[in-house]
């Protein structure tokens, strides 16, 4: 068998020759026999030929049973396919270009989806990793965790092989190497690195009880410590304290997270030991700074772990009613949590790009149908020469496979170019950008769509001509209806895309019209980090805050004196910058809340001049002044949302409130609401405290500068002013206010731009499709139109006939598309702001647009039909 295979393959010529000889001998023998029976030599030969039934057919059927023939035929078919594609270079170019664009776009978007959503997290056994959160029915489902609660969870649970906590707040100032630099730090428990399976590039991770040790990130080790391997075991000075370097994280290590997890930090430069080996102080159940990670034990399911955590939460609610009332614990797979914000958006883009590909494929299918019609004669001839139906199908499949392969080859090349370009334009808050690449899974995806396209395209012409007909004239009605179906499909898909894009554009424009509650131009912001000497030994009421106030006043004075500057102020939590804080308070004269229930609002230390600089209006009472410090009466300003919530029917100005201490603070002003967390997120109650009176030390002021001139041009002057006041204060995160506003909607802008691009592409491609099919149908009916006009139909009537046909198809497509768009709208509802998924104006608008384009695409062929000379069209055939 195998021998036969190779013989057939290697000695093809000889095999053919032998077959020829064999059949010739047969013919001769039969002729001889016929002659023996008394026939004339001519009659004998003729009868023998008749009996044989055609040498070529017999050969063809013998070839079909040969082993190894498939490979040989394949090579032959590929050669034939390439030849025939080369011959029709116009068709081939259009088809391959369309496919390359379609497949390239799909593969590119899939690379992003793959890197962000599908790839396992870059840690060993990533599906065992979970994030753990406190939950509260009113405060939210994913709250960061109090140290004492974390301690109890870790002690009491048995479902996790390890549980670790991360405190994302510590910042370190590195001085003595040129400009001071702020290092973003995280304090983690000793279990953190082993839990994620991190093998240090150098040294080790933390031990449970050691203090003043630090692990450096690879990039900091390279850039600030010259990649010295001797660094391990040596000391570094961070925040005026001596730390011992114990390790360096591997180059590719990053903590996969969403931006909102760690106060807008997406990378950490240094890691310190959080400790928590022994039970923390009692008060640490009231603040909630920690992110908690767990690794499930082998064989323990998420549900089992969750059930155990529910029990622990019940227990903690009972034991610590003040802090844990109504609190639960939630375990979420780490991979799921990190991408929960972007999943819908990315899948929407993938759906959109697949639709573009389908629309493009419909066009190629149309071209193939036209080509198949033109090739019916060829097929009929081959069938007559003995090619089986199966054999013809095989050849058509080979052709379409070659087409699909060439298309996907170019498409892949396009992907390799476009992925890096796209990565550069991705919104910065998209998680896992570093993991986006063209990997095996992406290639498998490309192969899969290539295969699907190849097979479908190969079958399209077969569907159209069931049983190849010898009669090669005319077009079957089946073909016309298939073409019409393709148009309807294209139009409806294009409508879905246009509707999706329309909704997102409208949503984005509504979003950008949202007034954030502050001025959005001519403001420069920069984050400053004060060295620890400003905060060391801080205790409220001892006047130590003056150190910070003196710095702030000195800097503000210098900055205000800069040319082009109108005013300056400081805040600790800048709107739309991803940082926030929340404090609970008591209102004077109100009955105490039941245990575990707190009044709390967002909390912002600011300086005098902040409201005026950023443009938050004073609605009632007064703004902060320089004299609002520890030596004067304690005051607070609240926003309108807080006034509405806590003093719905009275004037809050003059009322008093206090925090955990005994100092009452008087409300002196009511200020406008601000969209602090995002334009799409409604303003929440906020209170503002003069910086000089804050109960806890705040050492990360963001300076806000209002200018008459282009604000970004002030950056270097501002940096100089900061250095003049204190050369050890690093300045970073410099941004103009419009950059902040735009940055806060970068994800929405990105997906809106991409889907709009796809929608335009879809519109264009569908228009070409409609035009192509209408032109084809017109050309097929030229004779009919000639006759119609010859017997008295006006040009107008023929024109209207074609246009009506185009309009009918477009109308059906639009109707189906509207139904599909309604479904699609529901899928993307969570991505929309201020516009309903079934927004009538948008749907009507895109329907009209699409119908108009489809009509225009039919208009040209219709006019051609109407202008044709009837005699010409009659003579044509």
């Amino acid at each position: 068998m195998l021998a036969a295979f190779f013989r057939n393959l290697l000695r093809k010529k000889q095999t053919e020759q032998e077959l020829d000889d064999e059949l010739r001998a047969y013919l001769e023998l039969t002729t001889a026999e016929n002659m023996r029976r008394g026939m004339s030599p001519e009659d004998a030969l003729q009868k023998a030929r008749r009996d044989l039934g055609g040498v070529e057919q017999v050969k063809e059927s013998v070839r079909d049973v040969r082993v190894g023939v498939s490979l040989e035929i394949l090579m032959q078919d590929i050669r034939y396919a390439l030849r025939s594609l080369r011959r029709n270079s116009g068709f081939t170019t259009v088809a391959i270009l369309t496919l390359a664009l379609g497949i390239g776009a799909n593969t590119t978007i899939f690379s992003v989806v793959n890197g962000v959503l599908l790839k396992p997290l870059p840690y060993p056994d990533p599906d065992r990793l979970v994030t753990l959160w406190e939950t509260h029915p009113t405060w939210g489902p994913f709250l960061t965790v109090a140290p004492a609660n974390f301690y109890d969870w870790r002690q009491q649970s048995t479902s996790f092989s390890r549980m670790a906590a991360l405190d994302p707040y510590p910042d370190f100032i590195l001085t003595g190497r040129g400009e001071p630099r702020r290092l973003a730090g995280a304090a983690v428990t000793a279990d953190f690195f082993p839990l994620l399976g991190v093998n240090m590039a150098l040294g080790r991770g933390f031990r449970a009880t050691e203090d003043h040790v630090v692990v450096l990130s690879y990039s900091i080790w390279e850039s600030y410590f010259a990649a010295r391997t001797a660094i391990v075991g040596t000391g570094v000075r961070l925040n005026d304290e001596e730390y011992t370097v114990v390790g360096v994280t591997p180059r590719d290590f990053s903590l996969v997270s969403k931006t909102s997890d760690f106060q807008a930090r997406t990378r950490f430069d240094v890691w310190t030991n959080l400790g928590l080996a022994s039970p923390p102080e009692a008060w640490t159940r009231g603040t909630h700074p920690l992110s908690v990670f767990g690794r499930l034990k082998p064989g323990i399911s998420l549900q089992q772990a969750q059930a155990e955590l529910d029990g622990i939460a019940r227990n903690l609610r009972r034991l610590y009613r003040d802090d844990n009332e109504a609190k639960g614990i939630a375990a979420v797979p780490m991979a799921e949590h990190a991408v929960s914000n972007v999943r819908t958006a990315l899948l929407t883009l993938l759906a959109a790009v697949v639709m573009v590909l389908l629309i493009a494929c419909a066009n190629i299918a149309n071209l193939l149908l036209t080509r198949a019609a033109a090739r019916q004669k060829e097929m009929a001839l081959r069938a007559a020469l003995g090619a089986s139906r199966k054999r013809l199908a095989q050849q058509l499949l080979t052709e379409s496979a070659v087409l699909a392969l060439l298309g996907s080859g170019f498409g892949l090349a396009l992907t390799l170019l476009s992925v890096p370009a796209l990565i550069a334009h991705l919104p910065a808050d998209l998680p896992r950008i570093a993991e986006i690449s063209v990997d095996g899974r992406v290639l498998a995806f490309t192969t899969l769509i290539t295969l699907a396209i190849g097979i479908v395209f190969g079958l399209v012409p077969m569907v159209q001509s069931p049983g190849v007909k010898l009669n090669a004239r005319g077009v079957s009605s089946g073909q016309s209806s298939l073409r019409s179906a393709l148009i309807v499909g294209q139009v409806s898909l294009a409508l879905v895309l246009l509707a999706g894009a329309g909704l997102m554009i409208k949503s984005l424009s509504v979003l950008l019209q949202v007034s954030p509650g502050f001025q959005t131009t001519h403001i420069l912001t920069a984050r400053l980090s004060l060295p620890p000497r400003y905060a060391n030994g801080y205790q409220f009421g001892t006047g130590q805050h003056r150190r910070i106030s003196v710095f702030q006043r000195a800097l503000a004075e210098r900055v205000r004196a800069l040319p082009g500057v109108r005013s300056a102020g400081f805040t600790s939590y800048l709107p739309l910058a991803g940082t926030n804080n929340n404090w609970s308070f008591f209102i004077e004269g109100r009955p105490p809340n039941p245990p575990g229930v707190y009044d709390s609002t967002d909390y912002r230390p600011v300086t005098a001049g902040y409201f005026e600089t950023i443009g938050i209006p004073i609605r009632r009472g007064r703004s902060f002044e320089d004299r609002d410090d520890e030596d004067h009466a304690l005051v607070v300003a609240i926003n309108e949302a807080m006034a509405r919530q806590f003093w719905p029917n009275e004037n809050p100005v003059g009322k008093r409130l206090k925090f955990g201490d005994e100092h009452w603070r008087t409300i002196v002003g009511i200020v406008g609401d601000v969209h602090h967390q995002g334009l799409a997120i409604a303003p929440v109650p906020e209170m503002y405290i003069p910086w000089g009176q804050v109960p806890n030390v705040e050492v990360r002021p963001t300076i806000v500068v209002r200018s008459f001139i282009e604000p970004a041009s002030l950056t270097s002057a501002l940096r100089k002013a900061v250095a003049e006041v204190d050369p050890e204060v690093p300045m970073d995160q410099v941004a103009t206010i419009d950059q902040l506003v735009y940055g806060s909607v970068s994800e929405a802008r990105f997906r809106t731009a991409v889907i709009s691009l796809f929608a335009l592409l879809a519109l264009f491609v569908a228009a070409i499709g409609v035009y192509g099919v209408m032109s084809y149908l017109v050309s097929q009916r030229t004779r009919e139109f000639g006759i119609r006009m010859a017997v008295g139909a006006t040009r107008g009537a023929v024109f209207a006939l074609i246009l009506r046909q185009g309009a009918k198809l477009a109308a059906i497509g639009v109707a189906i598309g509207l139904g599909a768009a309604a479904l699609f709208g529901r899928l993307i509802a969570s991505l929309l702001y201020g516009v309903k998924p079934l927004d009538a104006a948008t749907l009507a608008g895109v329907s009209i647009l699409l119908a108009a384009v489809a009509l225009f695409a039919s208009y040209v062929p219709a006019r051609r039909a109407a202008n044709a000379d009837p005699m010409d069209s009659l003579r044509y055939e």
Binding site: E22, A25, L29, A32, G53, S61, V62
Partner: protein, 108 residues
């Protein structure tokens, strides 16, 4: 009987049987089948040659080139050992089927 009425597998069995006595070329096989079935089966080249090539590749038949009675170079087929056992097994099967069919048709 027309060729199309040949049962699936019947042609193979007839070819195997014809070759049981001696090696033959294609035309000889065709004539032999015609004689032994009293002209009931007239195997056309379009069926015969694909079948011969298929059976040869399956290893039931072997072939060599020899001279025919018209002194023309012809391809002679003979049974291999596999072919011979195939013939036996197929004959038994066929007999069982034809007995079964006959008794089914006799039944009233």
């Amino acid at each position: 009987m027309a060729e199309s009425e040949l049962l699936q597998g019947t042609l193979d069995l007839l070819i195997l049987k014809s070759l049981a006595l001696q090696p033959m070329h294609g035309m000889g096989i065709s004539r032999r089948i015609s004689q032994t079935t009293n002209g009931a089966f007239d195997v056309k080249a379009g069926s015969l040659f694909p079948a011969l090539h298929r059976m040869e590749q399956a290893g039931w038949l072997a072939s060599e080139w020899g001279e025919s009675e018209t002194r023309r170079r012809s391809k002679f087929y003979r049974l291999t050992r596999t072919g011979r056992s195939r013939l036996q097994c197929e004959s038994h099967r066929w007999e069982r089927i034809s007995l079964a069919m006959a008794s089914a048709l006799r039944a009233t």
